[in-house]
Amino acid sequence: MLEVEEVEKSFGGLAAVSECSLKVEEGSITGLIGPNGAGKTTLFNVITGYYKPDKGKIIFQGQGIDGLLPHQIFQKKIYRTFQITREFAQMTVLENVMLMPEQQIGEKIWNTWFRPGLVRSQEKAIKEMALDVLEFVELIDLKDEYAGSLSGGQKKLLELARSMMAEPKMVLLDEPGSGVNPTLMKKLIANIRKLCEEKKITFFLIEHDMDLVMDLCNPVIVMSEGKKLAEGTPEEIKKDERVLEAYLGGQYR
């Protein structure tokens, strides 16, 4: 579904991602792991248009998407979340979620003045959908609170709610489990799995919590020094010597 072909991205002299090639299969929950500074988040940023790749190609469902702007990537039905959540703090939880649907009629200023009926009926539908989504992630009681006042874990759930609202084909999650307590984590894992199975959303996620990765992801891709180092099932990865070396520096061999 997503193919990254020999992508390179450098900052000054430092190649954060260099000649990185990998594939994410449709309908999978693919994990991306690797030591700090391996280039995982940079790769996400390149895929989602935040950075332009210096070299290489990114193909999504047979179409090249490298060099598109972030909102154009979104229109291709790819959504991403951030390592440190980026909610719209001074807006309510419900408004955060209602923002997501694409091409809303009321986003055109003329329509708000001259076609108020149409805007209102669509807004009603969006609101109902948003309430359903908030029900699903169990944030419904907090719908009228400022998003900025949620706890770290609740913000992760809000990100998930927003990604559901976007009706994406693929979601890139950057450390969905960081700062989430174990109970909430179980909920998060269950939700991701449910979305993958029921809504056929492909997930590609960076995670440092190995329990989460081993439990949820298949396959797992390992990155190190800007390149793909290994790929396989969780079991294979656990045993892979190169992976241990990359993480632990080789002295435990």
């Binding site: 909102h71 979104f74 923002l99 997501m100 003045w113 976007a166």
Partner: protein, 322 residues
């Protein structure tokens, strides 16, 4: 002062505050909802005023043309002046937006204040354009013949109130809709809004242009009120910073707050003239500066004790279907 005089004075205050309320509403679209740091309001004030002056007055002819230079004069009615001022300000904002909206917000601030000063100096120095520092005069006022000129201000106040209400309602409608929701998302986190599929540049442009058009209407209403304009009116202090003080005091992100702030601050600002009249003779020469000092102290008090202004942003803004 007899009672009629006091009333007439209050009416003139209410007119000026109403004009400032329109500027505040325009700034609120740009800053309050979108986070665009425009400190060049005076530029749109200036262009709006000159635009309507040239649209509603005839081009000078005969002997008069030797003394008054004016690049064009269309002699059209008041309403056309307002619409023309809005349109021209919108076009100017669009042109300014193309290079500056891609900049970070500090740079937008620097470039807008520079552009505003540039406009003022162009009108000041280019005599052929709009008569240089002597300015333009003889702007028509609508319904002028209807009452004794002594009482004309009452009619103008009604016109101002009607226009404030129209502007207020049209902004409210747009802000309560998904359009306003996108603007607020951009204000909160631009990157996240882009990743949520919103075309940041286009929405910022719409906000800048819409805000500037509202400011253009404000400038035009000012010009028809004073009937004569010259470039020295559009200084950063009267054209920009007092409007920021009004919006901060009233409540950025709240249109009711924007209008309230304009009235509160304008009444206080003019109130300070009475206070400085009480000053001892030796300090009187410094009265204008003491007034600035007082107004800035007031702003600081507001920011410390009511950082969100008198009326802050409402918690739920997108309430089209509540």
């Amino acid at each position: 002062m007899e009672i009629g005089g006091i009333l007439a004075y209050m009416v003139s205050l209410a007119i000026m505050a109403g004009i400032y309320a329109i500027f505040c509403l325009g700034l609120n679209i740009q800053w309050g909802y979108t986070g665009l740091f425009n400190i060049g309001i005076a530029g749109f004030f200036c262009i709006g005023a000159y635009a309507t002056a040239m649209i509603t007055t005839p081009k000078p002819t005969g002997l008069y043309a030797h003394y008054v230079h004016q690049i064009f004069g269309l002699n059209l009615p008041f309403v056309m002046g307002l619409l023309g001022a809005a349109l021209i300000c919108g076009i100017v904002a669009f042109l300014i937006g193309i290079p500056t909206l891609r900049l970070g917000e500090d740079y937008l601030a620097i470039s807008t204040i520079g552009i505003a000063e540039t406009f003022r100096l162009i009108f000041n120095n280019e005599h052929w354009l709009a008569n240089g520092p002597r300015g333009l005069m003889g702007l028509p006022q609508p319904f002028q013949g209807l009452v004794d000129p002594k009482h004309y201000n009452y009619i103008y106040l009604i016109i101002i109130v009607i226009i404030v209400v129209i502007v207020y309602l049209s902004i409210e409608r747009a802000i309560r809709s998904p359009w306003g929701r996108v603007l607020r998302a951009i204000r909160e986190d631009e990157v996240s809004a882009a990743m949520s599929g919103k075309d940041i540049f286009h929405f910022k442009m719409q906000s800048l242009v819409f805000g500037a058009m509202v400011m253009g209407i404000g400038g035009a209403l000012y010009a028809h009120y004073t009937k004569a304009i010259s470039p020295d009116v559009f200084t950063p202090l009267y054209g920009t910073f007092i409007i920021w003080v009004m919006l901060m005091a009233g409540g950025s992100g709240n249109n009711k707050g924007a209008v309230l702030g304009a009235y509160v601050i304008w009444f206080m600002w003019t109130g300070t003239t009475f206070m400085t009249n009480l000053l001892p003779y030796t300090l009187k020469a410094r009265a204008p500066y003491i007034r600035f000092l007082l107004i800035m102290i007031l702003l600081e008090i507001i920011l410390i004790y009511r950082p969100r202004g008198l009326l802050g942003e409402e918690k739920k803004v997108s309430k089209l279907v509540d």
